[in-house]
C-alpha cells in the first residue's frame, strides 16, 4: 500500500453502504465518500491546471463533506491544509502567507471569509497582482458549485505518478515565536502511523468513534484515518454538546459510540459535572486521550464509573503524525501520581539524550525513583517531512540522528524533557523551555502541578515562573483556599525549594484555541515585568 486513498477505496469495496463519516444531519457512506472525493478531485485538477504536490487550503466547517474535500485534494495530486473557519484573520493570513496555496476550497457560507483573506493578502504583499484585472492571489473554489461532471480520467494518471513520500496534508501548529509552522505529513507517515493505531487499539469495522477534536488538530488524524482504513464510522459530536453535557451523553448513546479519543479537558467536563450520576455510557469501551497532560483525579473518576473500559494515554507532536509513545492504563494511580506516557509505538523508535548528547539509560536513581532526564527524540516512518516553507525551523527540529554518524538519517527533536520510571516507562517532565532554575535548583513546573492534583476543590491549575521576581506562581481556579492550607498540601508532596511562592485564584482559567491552558497569557498577566 502506498497511497492513503486506498483506505477509502478498499473500504468502499467492502462496505459500500456503511456510514463512513456522519453527524446529526446524516452522513456519507463509503460508496458516497469515494464517489464525491473523486468528483472533487477531478474538479480541483481541472481548476488548478493539473498542479502537483501544491498546497490547497480547505475552509469549511467540521462536517462529513469536508472529509470528501480533503480526499478530493489528494485525488487531484495536491495536499490539503485545513483552515479553522473561526480562526482570527491575522492567523489565517500568516498561514496563507507562508503557504501561498494554489486554491482555497470553501462553500457558499464561507465565501465572504475566503474573499476577505484573498484581498487582504494582496494588500499585505504589495506588488502582487496589482496590474491585473483581478487581485486574486489564490483561486477560490466553491464546493456548492462543484462540477460533478469534471473529467475523472486524469485521476488514474495522477495516481500512477504518486509516490508514498508525497505529502497528504500540512498541519499548522503554533510556533513559540508566534509564527505558525506547517508540518508536512506524507502518505508513508499516515500509513505507518495508522497501522500502529489500528493494532494498538483494535480498531475494526465495529468501531464507532465519537469525534471531538477539530480537523485542523493533529489528533483528528488518528480517529479519521483509522476509521477510513478499517471501515469504521466516525460521528462528529457538535461542539455545543460539550457545553450542554446531557446532550453529550444522549448523543453518545444514540449513536452507540464505543471509542473516543478526546483531549483531557473534554474528559474533565464529564468529571466536573459528575455526569455518571445522571447518565451511563454502556456502549463505551475505549477511552483514549492526548494533547496535554491528563490529570489523574478526573481520570480516576472515569475509571471508577466505567471500570471495564480501556484507558490509554497517548503522547506525541504533530511532527510524528500524531503520536510517538503511549501507555495503556494497567494499574492504579493515586490522584497526585502522574500517568506515564509509556513506550514507543510499533514501528516508531524514541530515545532520550542528556544535555551532553549522551543517551540517558533507564537506570533508576533510588532516591527519586526515576532515571536522569533528557530530551526526547523520535525516529522512523511517523516523522513528518519538515515545515512547509521554513527551512530554518526544519533544520532546528529535524536533525541528523546524533547517535548515527554513518549515513543520513533525520530524526525529530521534540523539545520535550522526559525520564524513565521503575517500570521502564517514559514519564513526561515538561517542555525543555519550561524548565526553570530557582534558588539554584533545576525545577520542572509540571511536577509542582502534578502535586496539586490531590487538592480538593481545585478544578484547574497552572504553575508559572516569574523570572523577574524569581518566584513560582501557583494559579488556580476553584473554591477559594486558605494559603496556609495550600502551602501545607505542597509541603507534603514536593521539596521546599519547589513550593510555590505566590498563590493566585482566578475565576476562569484562560485557554488557547486548542483548549489547552494558555500559560503565555497567565505569565503576561501575573508575572512582574
Amino acid at each position: 500500500m502506498k497511497n492513503i486513498l486506498e483506505f477509502i477505496e478498499n473500504s468502499a469495496l467492502r462496505y459500500p453502504d456503511k456510514l463512513a463519516v456522519a453527524d446529526e444531519n446524516g452522513g456519507l457512506t463509503y460508496g458516497q465518500m469515494e464517489k464525491l472525493s473523486r468528483q472533487i478531485g477531478a474538479w480541483i485538477y481541472e481548476k488548478t491546471d493539473g498542479d502537483k504536490n501544491k498546497p490547497v487550503a480547505v475552509l469549511l466547517d467540521k462536517k462529513p463533506e469536508s472529509v470528501a474535500a480533503y480526499m478530493g485534494v489528494v485525488y487531484s495530486g495536491n495536499f490539503y491544509v485545513v483552515l479553522d473557519a473561526e480562526m482570527p484573520v491575522s492567523r489565517a493570513e500568516s498561514i496563507l502567507g507562508t503557504l501561498k496555496p494554489v486554491a482555497v476550497v470553501t462553500d457558499t457560507g464561507h465565501m465572504d471569509k475566503a474573499q476577505e483573506l484573498n484581498s487582504r493578502d494582496v494588500q499585505a504583499d504589495g506588488c502582487q497582482g496589482q496590474d491585473t484585472e483581478t487581485n486574486e492571489v489564490f483561486r477560490i473554489l466553491n464546493l456548492d458549485e462543484l462540477d460533478a461532471e469534471a473529467d475523472q480520467s486524469v485521476l488514474g494518471t495522477v495516481r500512477k505518478k504518486a509516490i508514498d513520500t508525497d505529502p497528504v496534508y500540512a498541519l499548522f501548529t503554533s510556533g513559540s515565536t508566534g509564527v505558525p509552522k506547517g508540518a508536512v505529513v506524507s502518505h508513508r507517515n499516515i500509513i505507518a502511523y495508522i497501522d500502529w493505531y489500528t493494532e494498538a487499539f483494535d480498531i475494526d469495522e465495529h468501531t464507532i468513534f465519537g469525534s471531538q477534536t477539530p480537523f485542523y488538530f493533529s489528533m483528528s488524524v488518528s480517529d479519521l484515518y483509522s476509521t477510513l482504513k478499517n471501515g469504521a464510522t466516525l460521528y462528529i459530536i457538535p461542539k455545543a454538546y460539550f457545553t450542554f453535557p446531557m446532550k453529550l451523553m444522549e448523543f453518545m448513546n444514540t449513536y452507540r459510540i464505543n471509542t473516543i479519543y478526546w483531549v483531557p479537558s473534554a474528559l474533565q467536563i464529564v468529571a466536573n459535572y459528575k455526569l455518571f450520576q445522571y447518565a451511563q455510557l454502556p456502549e463505551l469501551k475505549k477511552v483514549l486521550f492526548a494533547g496535554e497532560v491528563m490529570p489523574t483525579k478526573p481520570l480516576n473518576y472515569w475509571i471508577q464509573n466505567l471500570p471495564d473500559a480501556m484507558y490509554a494515554n497517548l503522547f506525541g507532536p504533530t511532527e510524528t503524525t500524531d503520536i510517538c509513545t503511549y501507555y495503556v492504563v494497567d494499574r492504579e494511580f493515586a490522584d497526585d501520581e502522574p500517568l506515564p506516557m509509556g513506550r514507543a509505538c510499533n514501528n516508531c523508535d524514541v530515545f532520550v539524550l542528556d544535555e551532553n548528547g549522551r543517551e540517558v539509560s533507564p537506570e533508576i536513581d533510588p532516591e527519586t525513583g526515576f532515571s536522569h532526564e533528557g530530551e526526547l527524540y523520535a525516529r522512523g516512518s511517523f516523522v513528518a517531512l519538515g515545515y512547509f516553507g521554513n527551512a530554518e525551523k526544519t533544520r532546528e527540529a529535524f536533525v541528523q540522528n546524533p547517535l548515527n554518524p554513518n549515513y543520513p538519517e533525520l530524526v525529530y527533536k521534540t523539545g520535550d524533557l522526559v525520564k524513565y520510571n521503575r517500570y521502564g516507562e517514559l514519564v513526561y517532565v515538561c517542555r525543555k523551555d519550561y524548565q526553570i532554575k530557582h534558588m539554584g535548583y533545576r525545577i520542572e513546573l509540571g511536577e509542582i502541578e502534578a502535586a496539586a492534583g490531590a487538592i480538593d476543590g481545585i478544578r484547574s491549575y497552572a504553575c508559572i515562573y516569574d523570572d523577574a521576581a524569581d518566584k513560582i506562581l501557583f494559579i488556580y481556579e476553584g473554591k477559594k483556599k486558605d494559603e496556609t492550607e495550600l502551602l501545607k498540601a505542597f509541603q507534603e508532596r514536593v521539596p521546599h525549594y519547589m513550593e510555590p511562592n505566590r498563590f493566585v485564584r482566578v475565576t476562569s482559567m484562560p485557554h488557547n484555541a486548542n483548549g489547552k491552558i494558555d500559560r503565555k497569557r497567565l505569565k503576561a498577566e501575573y508575572a512582574q515585568h
Binding site: R459, T507, M509
Partner: protein, 75 residues
C-alpha cells in the same frame, strides 16, 4: 440579579450581559466557561445546578439564568 451580573462579569468579562439576547448562539458561553459558571453559581447562590438544568433555554439570557436560580432556590 446584581450578584449574578457580578459573577458573569468575573467568569467572562467584556460582555454587555444586560442587553445580550442569546448567550449561547452568540458564542459567549463555551464549554469551559460553562463549567466555571455553573460551579461558581452553585457556590455563590448555594443551589444545586445539576447537568439536567444546563440547557440552551436556561442559559439563553441573564434573565433566564436568574429565573432558573430562583426556581432552584425554591426547591
Amino acid at each position: 440579579m446584581e450578584e449574578l451580573l457580578k459573577i458573569l462579569n468575573e467568569v467572562k468579562p467584556g460582555v454587555d450581559y444586560e442587553n445580550e439576547t442569546d448567550l449561547i448562539g452568540h458564542g459567549v458561553l463555551d464549554s469551559i466557561t460553562m463549567v466555571t459558571l455553573v460551579l461558581q453559581l452553585s457556590d455563590e447562590f448555594d443551589v444545586d445546578i445539576s447537568p439536567v438544568d444546563i440547557t440552551p433555554e436556561n442559559f439563553k439570557t441573564v434573565q433566564t439564568i436568574y429565573d432558573m436560580i430562583q426556581r432552584l432556590e425554591d426547591e
